[in-house]
Symmetry: C2
Subunit: 312 residues, 2 copies
């Protein structure tokens, strides 16, 4: 980090867009633990933003929906930030394709901040960096942080789970409904969106989601995920989606606290694991892992034995 | 595990299909480390099978291609196993839909073994269980193990990386080409397949892959991933795909050893991390993590500080 964490944190708290961007970059670039000082400085000012995950398979119109949600949230007088961790999103990867067109209408609006998260070279670390980036935006005073992910890989599901609420977007006629149910997405959705409501098959999609929901055990606190129809291209149904999200947010405080506790627990466990591992690496000779790997390749030891020996 | 690991290992080595299925179930059900005895017993007999990952976005015809590959590999007189970790594959999830039709033609063939891997509740553990299941099949004498995954999530990319060779399947006209390039799939492919070669846009797809490849740094050992056209439904191009995979396998021994070394290294690191963490949990009071999480939710400590305190 070029700037000292406290000075940068100060400017983030003031809502300085360049400082926010730099803080997120610092978090992305940091090896495990190096973003700790910055997060530590900002942490007391966090916990206010509403973190909303938006996930679904590619081609479901998620990005257009997020764009419309931005407009709806701004109309309500709230500041909104987007973290795009979807490699197929025009927000994250679209710059390459000149596909950033849709976002341009918010470009001059200081109440909107859009940031793509690097998706390569961060195996397993994506949920940490996204979670910490959301903390930066939270401390900077954004009322809502939209986290856009692709809901196919488990890593992305994990990212979605860092949110207070998760919206799962599906479209008719692609078999997405069935795929999503199989991929375990039914369990993580707080709100379902059946997008492209003008398409044939929309009612069948809604029915199949509702049928799948009826097979689920009752969710916590009696919240049954509603299934909303939207047409992201026209914005139809988007205000209702935002209303539903507000209703979900305002449900029992106890349930919200339980979810935040689970999230904190997962974060602490992951960080403790990383710190422990870093200590092990420091304690061992530099080539210890490479020598163990050579033994495994030569079939002298199996990987479990090799790992146990390293800890001995 | 019901049977003692050594007895089960003995039957796996003899190629007993029921024992193989039970061994993989034991690995899937095991908490971290509990499959260690079984893997340890089988490990000296492994390292012979050719592990081939087949990945790509949903709807690309991967499963049909895998089915055709089975037939081609059988024609060459080799035994082949499939591990389906793709939640959208008829091999793994299709039983629910009665979509197992295509596999039936291999059902009576003892030289073919098909197994779906559980994809839920195993966040982060999927590459370990898949890797260990591949060891079981390797020890059981299968010459080729096909590992079918969805190449969108990073977890699936990681699974694909446990293989000796990775085939990335794309189809024209869906924007998959661009998506895949953005998702970091370019870096992991050893062979590209442009499937549905009868479709419009196939040549544009091949060209865009080749264009993207030309921007890549030269790959190790001078292997440039070839781009093959296939029509999985008719089997066209599949023998050429298998030939290409054999050619890739027969390239320099040094390169293959390097890849196997990297894989062993990753496995040992992950296992050592799990073992360390299990020790930490045993050493701490049972509610230590929960108390730390409560502090984080209350903004008394940030997650980094909480993790450090637990290790102190």
């Amino acid at each position: 980090m070029a700037a000292p964490p406290d000075a940068l944190a100060e400017r983030v708290r003031a809502g300085d867009a360049r400082a926010i961007a730099r803080a997120i970059s610092a978090i992305e670039d940091a090896e495990h633990g190096d973003g700790a000082a910055l997060v530590g400085a900002l942490f007391p000012q966090t916990g206010r933003a509403y973190l909303v995950g938006v996930t679904g398979v590619p081609g479901g119109g998620k990005s257009t929906l997020v764009d419309q949600l931005i407009a709806t949230i701004r109309s309500a007088g709230l500041k909104v930030a987007v973290l795009a961790v979807d490699p197929t999103s025009p927000f994250s990867g679209g710059a390459v394709l000149g596909d950033r067109v849709r976002m341009n209408r918010h470009a001059a609006d200081a109440g909107v901040f859009v940031r793509s998260m690097a998706t390569r070279g961060h195996l397993g670390g994506l949920s940490r960096t996204t979670g910490d980036a959301a903390l930066v935006l939270d401390a900077a005073g954004f009322d809502v942080v939209l986290i856009e992910t692709v809901g196919v890989g488990q890593d992305e599901v994990e990212v979605a789970q860092t949110a207070d609420a998760t919206v799962v977007v599906m479209v008719p006629g692609t078999g997405d409904d069935v795929q999503a149910m199989k991929a375990g997405i039914m369990e993580i959705a707080d709100v379902f969106v059946a997008n492209k409501a003008d398409r044939e098959g929309i009612d069948r999609l809604v029915q199949s989601i509702e049928a799948a929901l009826s097979l689920q055990p009752p969710s916590d606190g009696g919240w049954t995920p509603p299934v909303l129809k939207t047409e992201a291209t026209t914005g139809q149904g988007v205000p209702e989606l935002w209303e539903t999200l507000c209703r979900f947010r305002d449900r029992s405080e106890a349930l919200r606290a339980a979810r935040r506790h689970a999230r904190a627990l997962a974060r602490i466990r992951a960080l403790a694991g990383e710190l422990l591992f870093a200590r092990l690496e420091q304690a061992l000779p530099p080539d210890a892992f490479a020598r163990a790997a050579a033994d495994v390749v030569a079939r002298k030891r199996d990987p479990y034995r090799a790992a146990q020996d390293l800890l001995a």
